[in-house]
């Protein structure tokens, strides 16, 4: 049984008009941020959610953790449907699920010593008393490489570099020994020379706690470093999902192919064809009919404008939603 199962998850945000519309409770339409997403993540497995800005990857991450309420669909965590969970049950669950955000600065309290920020969730969740939690925080700082710890424990986030702050955020999330972690662009703002150490840190904790992880990134080459499987999202939908090497070596969706062609690398690209992708991502308030990628797709035909493609399996465990898959 997978640790996490997501079934036809949707999140529509209402588009608000002016004051009068709001007073009258009128809604002008919906942004379909996530529009029917299904996938599973096993214990110890990492799924990378890849896509461009506005594709719904972050919203999906937040829905899975119940940081947002879904419009419809189900999130089943460890056999329990958590979509309607409330109160103490939800709180107990939160301990097992953690999120690491892109901007560690926004994620930390600017006025609290970073050591105490690691200890606080342990106390909040009733796992330990402050004294013991502080000792635990001390150990965590050491484990994430912020040593000598006595130099770091009492510092405020302002007095740390971006990479050091991200280490604090990771230490705080991992102190709770979660089974499931969502890392949202966790290394995107980190300078490249320090990226490797952050990635390795995440992988080490993942191994140790046998965590399931959703690793959200716009950079497919970074996704490859950590992921067992890759899901490519476009305008609120998963368009391709499969084993990391399957998706990278044998991309079946024209959009995946375009992403691979565009990502800068120092290697020769192994792509089957060069596709010219038109324009930019459509407005999620006005999702194109049929296949939502069709206005940009060089392979599009009539059917793509009318019929939304179903997910089909192109090789073992490798699925694509495209009428003309490559």
């Amino acid at each position: 049984m997978p640790l996490l199962e997501v079934v036809d998850l949707k999140k529509y945000f209402p588009v608000e008009g002016g004051v009068i519309d709001r007073l009258l409770g009128r809604v002008k339409g919906y942004v379909k941020a996530v529009d029917g997403v299904s996938f599973t993540v096993d214990r110890g497995e990492t799924l990378a959610l890849i896509g461009e800005s506005g594709c719904g990857k972050t919203t999906t991450g937040k829905l899975v953790l119940r940081l947002l309420e879904p419009t419809s669909g189900k999130v089943i965590f460890d056999g329990v449907d958590i979509t309607r969970l409330k109160g103490e049950d939800l709180r107990r669950l939160r301990r097992r699920m953690q999120m690491i955000f892109q901007d560690p600065f926004a994620n930390l309290d600017p006025r609290m010593p970073v050591g105490d920020q690691i200890a606080e969730p342990l106390v909040e969740h009733g796992i330990m008393e402050w004294e013991e939690a502080r000792e635990e925080a001390y150990k965590m700082l050491e484990r994430v490489g912020l040593t000598p710890v006595e130099d770091f424990y009492d510092r405020l986030p302002l007095n740390l570099s971006g990479g050091q702050r991200q280490r604090v955020v990771i230490a705080r999330a991992m102190a709770l020994k979660p089974d499931f972690v969502v890392a949202d662009e966790a290394v995107s703002m980190i300078d490249v020379s320090m990226r490797a150490s952050i990635v390795k840190l995440l992988l080490r904790f993942k191994e140790e706690f046998n965590q399931a992880m959703i690793f959200i990134t716009h950079d497919i080459s970074v996704g490859r470093l950590v992921a067992d499987r890759i899901a490519v999202m476009y305008l609120g939908k998963i368009v391709e999902i499969g084993g990391t090497e399957q998706v990278i070596n044998n991309p079946a969706h024209p959009y995946t192919q375009a992403l691979l062609a565009a990502v800068p690398t120092i290697e020769e690209k192994k792509l089957k064809m060069k596709l010219e992708i038109k324009g930019e991502v459509a407005d999620p308030k006005n999702v194109p009919p049929g296949c939502r990628f069709h206005p940009r797709c060089p392979l599009a035909t009539d059917i793509c404008m009318k019929k939304e493609p179903e997910m089909i399996e192109v090789e073992n465990g490798h699925f694509v939603a495209c009428h003309h898959h490559i």
């Binding site: 461009e52 990226r195 490859r224 470093l225 120092i266």
Partner: protein, 321 residues
């Protein structure tokens, strides 16, 4: 290839309350007509400060403290500010990361392009129209877009407008400071194609300021790697991936994730230095795995190795023994 821009021993310091930040120190390079050079470095390496310094736009409390910048033969560090204003835009121009900060949200695109022409003394209406039409064509946007406001355009289109305003006076050099960092990769790749067209078709020399070494190597003729305010290596792009000279460049190459090759990436241990108080000797020595005794005591020269340039004691033969 004739040299369009020549920078000699340029240093830029910021005079802050907590000390002098040596953001750019003893930087020298040359740029040929139609050549594309990328300035690559991490945050705080001085790459953006250098980019701004080339237009004499370093914000206070920073200033150019020494060195020369020859733009088509003229030393622009010595010209009065009034003349510099006419040089900016017409001979050297700049595109920034976020076009929303350089475009006025309340005015139509066409009016903003026209203003640039007005300021630079282009008064003839037909001539203005012709130039705007040409600029829009050069950035591959429909002419109708001149009646749009910036918010009506997508991020990629706005960046094209920013580029149009950068090239409308037909400058020799365009400095593009992280022009695609806020954009998605597919759009980024198209903006890079556009820059490439500009230098091929119009002969504009490009200086791309970026943190992304892979992008720089893929697109530019040569790269200059910056670390702690200095250029530590200048090499043709084709040589760098296979044979990086400076240990820092080697480290950066090792930190680029691969699509097909080995799955591990390497980190460069330690953190970049505080430029108010940079390390003695080679500024990279505290993080360098090849560091020798001399590296902590004296600064290596910027020496030539097989037509490339590097600032490292491994290559500087003036060291004893």
């Amino acid at each position: 290839m004739d040299t369009v821009l020549k920078v000699e021993d340029l240093s830029v310091h910021y005079y802050t309350l907590s000390g002098i930040v040596r953001a750019v120190e003893d930087v020298s390079f040359e740029l040929g007509r139609g050549e594309w050079m990328s300035l690559v470095g991490e945050s705080g390496s001085g790459k953006s400060t250098l980019g701004f310094a080339l237009l004499r736009l370093v914000p206070p409390p920073g200033r150019i403290v020494s060195g020369r910048i020859f733009l088509e033969g003229d030393d622009i560090t010595r010209v009065p500010e009034s003349r510099m204003r006419s040089i900016r835009g017409s001979k050297i121009s700049m595109v920034l990361q976020d076009p929303l900060t350089s475009l006025d949200p309340l005015r139509r695109i066409g009016d903003q392009l026209e203003e640039i022409l007005d300021v630079h003394g282009v008064k003839d209406e037909d001539e203005k129209k012709k130039r705007i039409r040409e600029a829009m064509r050069n950035v591959r946007l429909p002419y109708d877009y001149v009646s749009y406001y910036p918010h009506q355009l997508s991020g990629g289109q706005r960046q094209r407008i920013a580029i149009a305003s950068g090239i409308i006076l037909n400058p020799s050099v365009l400095v593009a400071d992280e022009p695609t960092t806020a954009l998605d990769v597919i759009v980024q790749s198209k903006i890079m194609d556009l820059l490439d067209d500009l230098r091929r078709n119009l002969g504009i020399s490009i200086i791309l300021v970026t943190h992304d070494l892979a992008l720089a190597l893929e697109r530019s003729d040569k790269i200059a790697v910056m670390y702690a305010g200095q250029i530590v290596e200048e090499s043709p792009s084709k040589d760098v991936a296979k044979n990086p000279l400076h240990p820092y460049t080697r480290g950066l190459i090792g930190s680029i994730p691969r699509l097909y090759g080995p799955k591990n990436i390497e980190e460069i241990p330690g953190f970049p230095p505080d430029l108010r108080n940079p390390p003695t000797g080679c500024r990279f020595h505290p993080r360098c795995k090849y560091a020798m005794d001399i590296c902590s005591t004296s600064e290596p020269g910027y020496v030539e190795v097989e037509g490339r340039k590097v600032r490292c004691w491994l290559y500087d033969k003036t060291r004893g023994g």
